[in-house]
Symmetry: C2
Subunit: 418 residues, 2 copies
């Protein structure tokens, strides 16, 4: 069988399964999530063997240690997968909710019903636990999913897929509900993102290389996360102790996450009060600073920033620092260099706080809080399939609701258009 | 100036204007809508001259009469444009609304704020009144717009653009708020749909050729309307008088609209009771029928349908008719041949009505009502930019809300992530 006909077969099976899922009950879908957890629990040994295979092959190929770490399925990570399934099962079912049902002058009643999207393609990299997490969210929201993990995790993902299939069988849900692409052929990704008739949306989860490859090929809509160049702006009216604490937390609480601050903006009016202390805190934390001229004057010895630094997503203990003339200067800097992910202001001025919320164009805008809060769990979504930096459909952390759509429903009693 | 640098300039101006619009008040935007109406009213003569030019050139080129009719701006059509501006100004402002603001266990308060999308590209065909209608909806929702009309309407659109610019100036809004592409070069469309940095979404309004051209080139998200292959299914438990009336209305109330029924499905149990009377009604209305074997047996003399008929969007007094074995047969037919636009069931059976609403995958699903109701005005949206057959973002009739996005807002008091 050619790759193309293999992928078409997956697509067809997923579309058929999605019709069955659209007719499924909450209890069936939750039952399947629990059954999958049970099957995974029973397949621990098989999964461990497969994972050891992937790890051995990865070491042979000289994969770097960080990648090998992400690839490894320790017993604790399998426990976490099982717990995750239970958490998703416990979330409220978004499907079927009817809102805004109202009578119209013509006499018809019109409202909106939340329904599954249909078929979701997930493309991800080395972590095999994504196979379970993504499948669980798609299933809970009534969608069929086609999962394409990294080739380095193929054996692990195939073992996990076996357990998922067992759980689905136990609840008499079709095998097409969750399908793992079981070829290492990279062309599978291009095929997946071009199956307009079968796939309703593709969610790439991974580095920029992956996402750009997907965007270049995609004919189906893509829910994507591109960059996270997040700012904290310390306003002239900020509580400086609060500003210090937020600026430290937003950078140092974790370095590799997309909601970590990458550029600190400081109002010129308070720069000399706040920057020296912050410089000290960052030095102690081992954060390298790259500053504008005025920052360098206040923080002797730091490296001058280049133009490229203002657009950089370091994902590392590196921070760009810029002193801005005023509030307008901060907004202009964010409009020019921000990636539309998460932006925060520290201020005690109510008007400027409100303007920041309204006018700054980002998926999350924050007042007096650390950018690190931009996260599905922190926002109460329960779990997230990813964080979208797109403006259409779902923006920011995408939970179950982002995996659904709303259709219009019309209730008449023989009404005719005149 | 090359086409590319001209388009880039429009994009840059639109992006800058969108920042100003994000900071604008409801009163400013409504004031601009009224000022544009005033300016158009004062420019009637100039617009008439430009329109006469377009019409003369169109006649020279041998445009067909239907196209020439759509191109013509009669005084009544200009009145309708002015009235439309007033109606849009009177709609509630969607921008700035905050929903679901709730406290989280961490202490932060999290909610969502409705905000403009940013910059919207509209690509349309011969009707110059779309220039005003589309600009008005974009502006009301706080978006900058770049409008690309048909080359046959270039003089008319340029004259209208002059009046819009005058209205914007009167309210001190930037000229980049509404820009009309003033070149007949078709490459402008390809450039517009690839300006990812400047354009947030493109809405093509026109025939399938236009939409397919846009999809082939697009790098920015597209809100599109593809096909309208709408069904009415007369269930075994239908009130047959109601079914007759709805089936006639859904087909004959208007032929050229996307929400017109194109295939009638009739349950075998009631086919012989309902089809002969319907055949008579369609014959009187001049509707040509194309039937499955069983329909042909009940309606002697009608043309047999081919496989292609089940997927056809006739947009004409032609109707495909199929007798299905049962409810499941109707759902299977719709799943296979429907275009996801609007689907209706006529039934007195509550369970089947509810299943139809839940399981049929379309932007509008209806019980006991004519498909012709699928329309922004009928749904209470006030006005629509189009009807989307996509599942992401806005589905079905797209009004002001579909031209906005929701961002997350976080209110803290110095909260840190731990």
């Amino acid at each position: 069988m050619t790759l193309d006909s293999y992928m078409q077969e997956l697509g067809r099976a997923a579309r058929t399964a999605s019709r069955r899922l659209a007719a499924s009950t909450t209890a069936e879908r939750n039952g399947a999530l629990h059954a999958i957890a049970g099957a995974l629990d029973g397949a621990r040994e098989r999964i461990a063997v497969a994972n050891a295979e992937d790890l051995a092959r990865g070491r042979e190929r000289g994969l770097d240690p960080a990648l090998l770490d992400r690839l490894e399925l320790t017993p604790a990570r399998i426990d976490a997968m099982l717990a995750g399934l239970g958490e998703v099962a416990a979330l409220p079912d978004p499907v079927g909710a009817i809102s805004d049902l109202a009578s119209r002058p013509s006499g018809i009643r019109v409202g909106r019903m939340r329904v599954p999207l249909g078929v979701i393609g997930i493309i991800y990299e080395s972590r095999p636990n994504v196979t379970v997490d993504a499948a669980a969210l798609c299933l809970k929201a009534g969608n069929a999913s086609i999962l394409r993990g990294g080739s380095e995790a193929l054996a692990s993902n195939t073992a996990i897929a076996g357990a998922i299939a067992e759980g689905l069988r136990a609840m008499a849900l079709p095998a097409g509900t969750v399908q793992v692409v079981d070829t290492a052929d990279r062309a599978a990704v291009s095929a997946l993102v071009r199956m307009e008739g079968y796939v309703d949306v593709v969610v790439p989860r991974g580095g920029k290389g992956l996402i750009e490859r997907v965007l270049a090929d995609a004919r189906v809509p893509v829910l994507k996360h591109l960059h996270g160049v997040c700012h904290v702006y310390i306003d002239a009216a900020a509580d400086l102790a609060m500003a210090h604490a937020i600026a430290v937390n937003a950078k140092t609480q974790r370095y590799g996450t997309c909601n970590t601050m990458e550029t600190l903006l400081v109002d010129a009016a308070v720069a000399d009060s706040v920057l020296p202390g912050l410089g000290e805190a960052y030095r102690e934390a081992g954060v390298e600073l790259r500053g504008c001229k005025r920052s360098c004057a206040l923080l002797p010895g730091i490296r001058p920033a280049t133009e490229a630094d203002w657009s950089e997503e370091y994902l590392a203990p590196v921070l760009a620092v810029r002193v801005v003339d005023d509030y307008e200067g901060a907004l202009a800097h964010i409009a020019r260099y921000g990636s539309g992910h998460t932006e925060a202001i520290v201020t005690a001025d109510h008007g400027r706080a409100m303007r920041f919320l309204r006018e700054v164009d980002a998926s999350s805008v924050m007042v007096n809080a650390s950018t690190r809060f931009a996260d599905g769990h922190e926002y109460g979504l329960g779990a997230e399939i990813g964080i979208s930096t797109d403006k259409l459909h779902a923006r920011g952390p995408v939970g179950l609701e982002g995996l659904t759509s709303q259709k219009w429903i019309v209730l008449g009693e023989g009404h005719l258009r005149s």
